[in-house]
Symmetry: C2
Subunit: 250 residues, 2 copies
DNA sequence: CTTTTGTATTCTGTATGCAGCATTTTTTGT
DNA sequence: ACAAAAAATGCTGCATACAGAATACAAAAG
């Protein structure tokens, strides 16, 4: 996933997915025909399918435990089984689906402990990222994160949960990127993707929501002050609390 | 990769690979026919190929930058292109190969910075693992790690680099496993795999080798004392020094 | 002699067909 | 009527065939 995921961040996913959804669900192939500007899109079908299936899983179109029926799913998406199978193998390596010998693939089901484990690792990684970011980031980059934060606050005040949620993720991703550690960025993105499915369902109460926003305020302040220890601490606390926020919906 | 890697650790890889190499390189298919004891092996060809190709990359049979020629490689291994392609997609998600649209796959080349980045993340993860392991591990499990360590020392005294190296990796993997965090175990395994290729080449001097062994001694002592802070510190230092040990060969 | 364009070959990308395994349904015996 | 065995159906796993893209080579023009 690593080479590709850099280009296809969540924004691209969402945009692409919506486009596909509007296409009267006939065929993914038409995607190639749309003459967009710039260097012509040269995406392989299996790659498109990876993103499409990933979004379907994250958004709950394919619930945990669902068997990925090659024939049926392929017909539904208008593709043959070969690229579909390749996409499934890719997602299996990503950890979103599970391969059962001679019985195909099923959408992986995460236990509460799995989620807790993932959040523990994510917490450690973001603590590292925060520390590195304070050293490596330029003033301009920090300002960009601040801009994201301000926009998120606007969405929070407007009670626009979906956009708030998206910007929230973007901020975490952005901070990790500031650490300028490619391996860290990749692994963080992978964990985010897996947890996205969980958090997408988790509905927090208003008071917890406010607390999360408060933590974000602290984060940005610490980043602007380039206070390694404080940023690292806040990020850790933020993700530690995240477990409380999602545990109810499990 | 996550579901499968748990079963196929490096020992299985190596054993399987050797077996395959002895098979007069005619066909991987015969693998099914060998009537071994126990519950019959029900492995899919693409899965076998993933392990086989991974080992080929790690051991340097396929050097960085090499194009994975589907036709040629398939004929060489005695399999058709379909499962081979599926295996390649899997490895691409693992980060060992890179997919270039319309131009196939090439073995990924890691820059010195990439290696440094990976070691940084690995260091943080092992620090976490050490901390968790001190809490979660049973006395029996710790004794097993000690046994691995003692055997490694024997290999060190016998100057058996290959076995020493293998046991070294096993110890790190074992400690991470003691943390009983599945996500941590998986990600650690993935990074180990990627770095294996690098370390396999890196030849350390005798004095650095001795230093590494000394750090291992400390590690085991800290683990047996269940001293979280000390184990975490030693693991961090060990991997910090690891960068020095490999940087020369880059 | 260099550069550019046309052509041919090779390889990737996708579809389809066939064989074997799993599961379900039907049939037969008690 | 119930249980066990056998047949049938559906799906996965693998191979092969076909179409399109990229590259390499050659020929021609500047």
């Amino acid at each position: 996933m690593f080479a590709m995921r850099e280009k296809n961040d969540s924004e691209t996913h969402a945009a692409e997915r919506n486009r596909l959804k509007d296409m009267d669900e006939t065929s993914l192939l038409q995607r190639r025909a749309d003459g967009s500007a710039g260097p012509i899109r040269r995406t392989a079908l299996h790659d498109t399918l990876v993103n499409h299936l990933r979004d379907m899983i994250i958004e709950g179109d394919l619930e945990p435990g669902t068997r990925l029926h090659e024939g049926q799913l392929g017909e539904q998406l208008g593709v043959s089984r070969t690229p579909l199978r390749e996409a499934i193998k890719y997602l299996a390596s990503e950890g979103l689906v599970e391969l059962v010998p001679s019985r195909g693939a099923v959408v992986k089901r995460f236990s509460p402990k799995d989620v807790h484990d993932m959040l523990t690792v994510l917490r450690t990684l973001e603590e590292l990222a925060g520390s590195l970011a304070c050293e490596a980031a330029s003033d301009q980059e920090i300002a960009q994160v601040r801009a994201l934060h301000d926009e998120m606050i606007d969405r929070y005040k407007a009670a626009d949960r979906l956009q708030y949620y998206k910007l929230n993720q973007d901020i975490h991703t952005a901070i990790v990127r500031l650490a300028q550690n490619s391996s860290l960025t990749d692994i963080h993105a992978m964990l985010q993707t897996r947890l996205k499915r969980i958090r997408f369902i988790g509905h927090e109460g208003p008071e917890k929501w406010a607390a999360a926003v408060g933590e974000h305020e602290e984060m940005i302040a610490a980043l602007e002050a380039r206070d390694k220890a404080r940023l690292s601490e806040v990020l850790g606390r933020h993700l530690f609390n995240a477990w409380d926020r999602v545990r109810a919906s499990l």
